[in-house]
C-alpha cells in the first residue's frame, strides 16, 4: 500500500484572485511507479500556466505499491479551487479532505474517489466506472453529460451524503446514483438508462426521460404532467406509485420509470 499526500500550499489560494488548479494529471494510475521527485515534476495547470506539482503542493510518499490498486492519494489543504480531482482516473483511490471545486471524478472509469466535504458542479460528469462518494453536498450537473453531448454518466456508482443541485444525471445512460438528501430541479433530465435514488425530495424529476429509473423516497414537487400512472407497487417493503414517461418525448419513447410515494 502506498499513500501519496498532496497538501496544497497555503499561499496558493491565499491571494484575492483564487486562481483554480486543475489536477487531472494527479490520478493514481498516472502517478503509479513515480517517486517523490518525479511526482513533484508532474505538470498541473494553475490558471493559464503550467506548473510543477511540487510548486503548488507539499508532496510526501509513504510505502510502496505493487499495483495501481495499492496507490492512495490523499489531498489536503484548501481544495475549494482545485478542479478535476480524479478526472479520468482508472484505478486506485483518491481521498480529498475538504470541499472541492468542479469536475471531481469526471470521466472516471475505475477506482474510488471520496470527498470529505462538498463537491462543486459537474462531479462525476460522464463517469463510466468506479465509485465516487461525496460526503457533503453536490453542486449542479452531477453525473451529467458535457455540454452538447448526448450521453452523461454511463457506469459506476455515486453516493452523495447531502443534497444535490440541478440536472442530476442529465442524459444518464447507466450506473447508479444515490442522493441521501434532496435534489433541485430536473433530476434525470433526458435520462435514458441507469438508476437514481433520492432519499429526500425532488422537483420535476424525469423531464424528457426515455429510459432508466428514478425513485423518490421523499416528496415530489411539481410532478411533470407528462407522466402516466401505471400501478401501485411495493419496493423494498414500501408502497410506491409507478409512472412511465416522459410522454413529451412521444409515447413510443416514454420508457422512463419514476417511482413516487
Amino acid at each position: 500500500m502506498q499513500t501519496i499526500r498532496l497538501k496544497l500550499k497555503e499561499e496558493i489560494t491565499s491571494g484575492d484572485a483564487k486562481i483554480p488548479i486543475e489536477v487531472d494529471s494527479l490520478t493514481p494510475d498516472k502517478l503509479f511507479g513515480k517517486n517523490e521527485a518525479e511526482i513533484k515534476a508532474v505538470k498541473v495547470w494553475w490558471g493559464n500556466r503550467e506548473e510543477n506539482t511540487g510548486d503548488l503542493f507539499d508532496v510526501s510518499v509513504e510505502g510502496e505499491a505493487g499495483t495501481v490498486e495499492e496507490v492512495k492519494i490523499v489531498m489536503e489543504g484548501n481544495l475549494s479551487r482545485v478542479k478535476h480531482i480524479g478526472d479520468g482516473m482508472k484505478a486506485g483511490e483518491i481521498e480529498a479532505i475538504g470541499d472541492v471545486d468542479m469536475h471531481c471524478g469526471a470521466m472516471m472509469g475505475g477506482g474510488r474517489v471520496t470527498v470529505k466535504g462538498n463537491a462543486d458542479c459537474w462531479a462525476g460528469r460522464e463517469m463510466h466506472g468506479g465509485e465516487l462518494v461525496i460526503e457533503g453536498d453536490a453542486g449542479d450537473n452531477l453525473c451529467a453529460m458535457y455540454r452538447g453531448e448526448m450521453t452523461g454518466m454511463s457506469g459506476g456508482k455515486v453516493t452523495v451524503g447531502g443534497d444535490a443541485g440541478e440536472c442530476v444525471g442529465q442524459y444518464m445512460a447507466g450506473g447508479e446514483i444515490l442522493i441521501k438528501g434532496n435534489t433541485n430541479i430536473l433530476t434525470g433530465l433526458n435520462m435514458k438508462g441507469g438508476k437514481i435514488t433520492i432519499e429526500g425530495d425532488a422537483i420535476m424529476p424525469g423531464a424528457d426521460m426515455t429510459g432508466g429509473e428514478i425513485t423518490v423516497k421523499g416528496k415530489v414537487l411539481d410532478m411533470m404532467p407528462s407522466f402516466k400512472f401505471v400501478e401501485t407497487t411495493t419496493v423494498e417493503g414500501e408502497e410506491y406509485k409507478k409512472y412511465l414517461g416522459d410522454l413529451a418525448m412521444t409515447e413510443k419513447k416514454a420508457k422512463g420509470v419514476l417511482y413516487v410515494r
Partner: protein, 564 residues
C-alpha cells in the same frame, strides 16, 4: 511573403500544371516567388521526398456566420481538438468545426496554402472576412451566395441578363467576393415558405424555376472575364434519386460559351448529388451515371464531397435539406434566414460504416474519383465539414492510391457496398501525379488562380511548396496517409511554416477577391432597383452595406473586365 532566397534540393517534384511528373528537380524561391535560380540561398534538402506545390482547396466552409454558429452550438465538438497555445501557435479547439487558428494550422500541416470559403451570405460578408483574417497562413477567398436573392430572381424572371450581370458585379465587389455561388437555387427561398424546389418547380411568389436561375447566372457570369465559373450546389441535395436532377442541372449550361478555356459550371460536392433509388430503402449509387456524363462533356468540373466516417457538423445555405436531415436524426438543429438573400441550417451528423445509406454515400465519393477518367475535371474535397472534416483528406488520398486499402475498408462496411455500389469492382489506383492534380492543379486552374501564382511551381508562381515525408515509390497506404496529414515541410511564400509536422511560423495569408468591371450605364440602371430594395426591405442601409477595404488587410485583387 518573406524576403530572401530558398533552395529546395533533391526533391521529386509533381507539378502537373507545368507537366512535371515525378522529376528530380530543384526549386528556387526568391522573395516569396519561384525563380529560375538563386545565388546565396538557405537550402532544404528534400532527400528524394515527394514535393508538390502548396495545396489548393476549391470548396470548404471555414469562416463566417454558419461556421461560427456551428462552433457555438457544438461545444462537444470544440473539446475534441483542444491544444494549448505554444510559442508559435494560439490555442486550438474543434474537430469538425475547428477554431480559426486550428483551421490554418491543420491545413498548413497537410501542405495546403489556399482555401476557398465556398458560401458567404452577402449580409455576413464582414463576419466572413473577419474570420478569414484570423485564419493564419492560408491565402483565401470567399464566394457570395447570389442565387436565392430577390434581385437575382427578378432579373431572371424579366430576362435582363445584362442587368443581372451588373447586379452580380456589384454584389461581388460589395462583399469582396470571388465568384458566384449557387446553393439549392430557388429552394432556399422556397424554404422561407416551408417548401423546397426541384429544378423545374416554380419558386413561390417569384415564379422562376431553379433551371432559369442557374442558366441566368451562368450567362451573366460569362459577361465578364471571371476567373471562375458559377459554383453550383444543385437542387435536391441528399435526396434518393437526385442524380436525374443533377444531370439536368449539368445540361443547363452546356451551350454557354465560357470566356476562356474553362468549364462553365463547377458542380460541387457531387457525392451528395449522385443518388439513385426512390427512398432510403432502395438507395443506391449513381456515381457511374454522373461520371459518364462528366467523361463525355467538357463544360463541367466537379469536386467530390467524399465522406469521412465519424461525427461531423453539417452546415449549408440549403435550409430545407438541413431540416430533412434533422428529421432523420432528431439531433439538434438550427436554422437561419438571411433577409432577401439566402438562408442556412446546421445539424450534427454521424456517418457510420454500419449504416447502409452512409456506406453507399461513402462509396460514391470515392467511386466518382475513380470513374471520372480525367483528373483535371475533379477536385478532392469533403465539402468540409459536411461530408467530414478536411483533416480526412489523407484518408481519401490513401484510398484512391490503394485498391488493397479500399478492399480492406469495404470489408468493415455494411454489406450493401457489394451490391448497391460499383465500389469493389473498380481496380483503378491513383498515382502521385493524379493526386497532385486533384489536390492542387485542377483546383487552381478551375478557379483561375494558376494565373496568380497558385497551384504550380513554374517561374513566377508563389513560393508555396509541400514536401511530404514519403518517397515516390511508397505503396503502403498507411504511410501515404500519415505523410499527407503532416508534411515534412510546408513552405508558404518562401517561408517555412511547417517543419516535421509542427507549425513553426504563422504569417498572415492574403484574401484574393475579384472586381468585375461593369459598364456605368448598366450599373446606374440596376442601382435604381437595388436602392429600392434597400429602402423597403433590408435591415441595413445601402451605404453601410459594402465591405470596406479595412476588412482585407492583405488584399489581392483580380480584375474581371466586361467582355466586349
Amino acid at each position: 511573403m518573406v524576403e530572401g532566397e530558398l533552395l529546395i534540393r533533391n526533391g521529386v517534384v509533381y507539378d502537373p500544371i507545368n507537366g512535371v511528373n515525378g522529376e528530380k528537380k530543384d526549386i528556387s524561391i526568391r522573395d516569396g516567388k519561384v525563380v529560375e535560380e538563386v545565388t546565396n540561398p538557405k537550402v532544404i534538402d528534400a532527400e528524394g521526398r515527394v514535393v508538390m506545390p502548396g495545396g489548393v482547396d476549391i470548396h470548404s466552409h471555414i469562416a463566417g456566420g454558419k461556421v461560427n454558429a456551428g462552433r457555438l452550438f457544438r461545444p462537444e465538438d470544440g473539446r475534441k481538438g483542444r491544444e494549448t497555445k505554444t510559442k508559435v501557435c494560439r490555442a486550438q479547439s474543434g474537430y469538425s468545426v475547428p477554431n480559426t487558428f486550428a483551421t490554418g494550422y491543420r491545413y498548413a500541416k497537410m501542405g495546403y496554402t489556399f482555401v476557398m470559403e465556398a458560401a458567404m451570405p452577402p449580409l455576413a460578408a464582414r463576419h466572413t472576412h473577419e474570420e478569414m483574417v484570423d485564419i493564419p497562413i492560408l491565402d483565401n477567398a470567399a464566394m457570395p451566395l447570389i442565387d436565392n436573392n430577390w434581385m437575382t430572381m427578378e432579373y431572371v424572371k424579366s430576362g435582363d441578363t445584362d442587368l443581372l450581370a451588373a447586379y452580380i458585379a456589384w454584389m461581388i465587389k460589395a462583399t469582396k467576393g470571388y465568384g458566384v455561388k449557387v446553393v439549392n437555387p430557388g429552394g432556399t427561398e422556397a424554404w422561407a415558405w416551408a417548401k423546397n424546389c426541384d429544378i423545374n418547380d416554380a419558386v413561390p411568389y417569384f415564379d422562376v424555376t431553379p433551371a432559369e436561375i442557374v442558366k441566368g447566372l451562368a450567362e451573366a457570369t460569362e459577361k465578364f472575364e471571371m476567373p471562375h465559373s458559377i459554383h453550383v450546389h444543385g437542387n435536391m441535395l441528399g435526396h434518393p434519386g437526385n442524380f436525374e436532377t443533377t444531370l439536368a442541372t449539368y445540361d443547363l449550361v452546356k451551350g454557354i460559351k465560357p470566356y476562356r478555356n474553362r468549364p462553365t459550371m463547377h458542380a460541387t460536392h457531387t457525392q451528395f448529388h449522385s443518388y439513385g433509388g426512390t427512398s432510403w430503402r432502395d438507395f443506391e449509387s449513381k456515381a457511374g451515371a454522373i461520371a459518364d456524363y462528366v467523361n463525355k462533356n467538357e463544360h463541367l468540373s466537379i469536386d467530390l464531397g467524399s465522406i469521412i466516417l465519424g461525427d461531423t457538423t453539417t452546415m449549408t445555405a440549403d435550409g430545407p435539406m438541413e431540416y430533412s436531415l434533422y428529421q432523420i436524426t432528431g439531433r439538434k438543429w438550427t436554422n437561419h434566414d438571411v433577409e432577401l438573400e439566402t438562408g442556412s441550417g446546421i445539424t450534427p451528423f454521424l456517418y457510420s460504416g454500419k449504416s447502409p445509406v452512409n456506406t453507399i454515400q461513402w462509396a460514391i465519393g470515392q467511386e466518382l474519383a475513380l470513374l471520372v477518367k480525367d483528373p483535371w475535371k475533379l477536385a478532392l474535397t469533403t465539402d468540409h465539414p459536411n461530408a467530414g472534416p478536411f483533416i480526412g483528406y489523407p484518408i481519401i488520398i490513401s484510398m484512391l492510391m490503394s485498391k488493397r486499402r479500399r478492399d480492406e475498408s469495404a470489408e468493415d462496411m455494411h454489406k450493401v457496398i457489394f451490391d448497391r455500389a460499383e465500389y469493389s469492382s473498380i481496380d483503378r489506383e491513383y498515382d502521385l501525379n493524379e493526386i497532385a492534380i486533384i489536390t492542387r492543379g485542377m483546383a487552381a486552374k478551375t478557379l483561375g488562380l494558376h494565373e496568380h501564382g497558385k497551384g504550380h511551381l513554374g517561374v513566377g508562381a508563389d513560393g508555396d511548396v509541400a514536401i511530404y515525408d514519403i518517397s515516390p515509390e511508397e505503396r503502403d497506404a498507411g504511410k501515404i496517409q500519415k505523410a499527407f496529414l503532416n508534411t515534412k515541410y510546408t513552405i508558404k511564400g518562401g517561408e517555412v511554416v511547417v517543419k516535421d509536422g509542427e507549425v513553426v511560423a504563422t504569417p498572415a495569408g492574403r484574401t484574393i477577391f475579384v472586381t468585375p468591371e461593369c459598364d456605368d450605364k448598366l450599373t446606374e440602371e440596376m442601382m435604381v432597383k437595388l436602392k429600392d430594395k434597400f429602402d423597403h426591405y433590408y435591415s441595413v442601409t445601402f451605404n453601410n452595406y459594402p465591405v470596406q477595404d479595412a476588412y482585407l488587410p492583405n488584399p489581392y485583387e483580380i480584375k474581371a473586365p466586361w467582355r466586349s
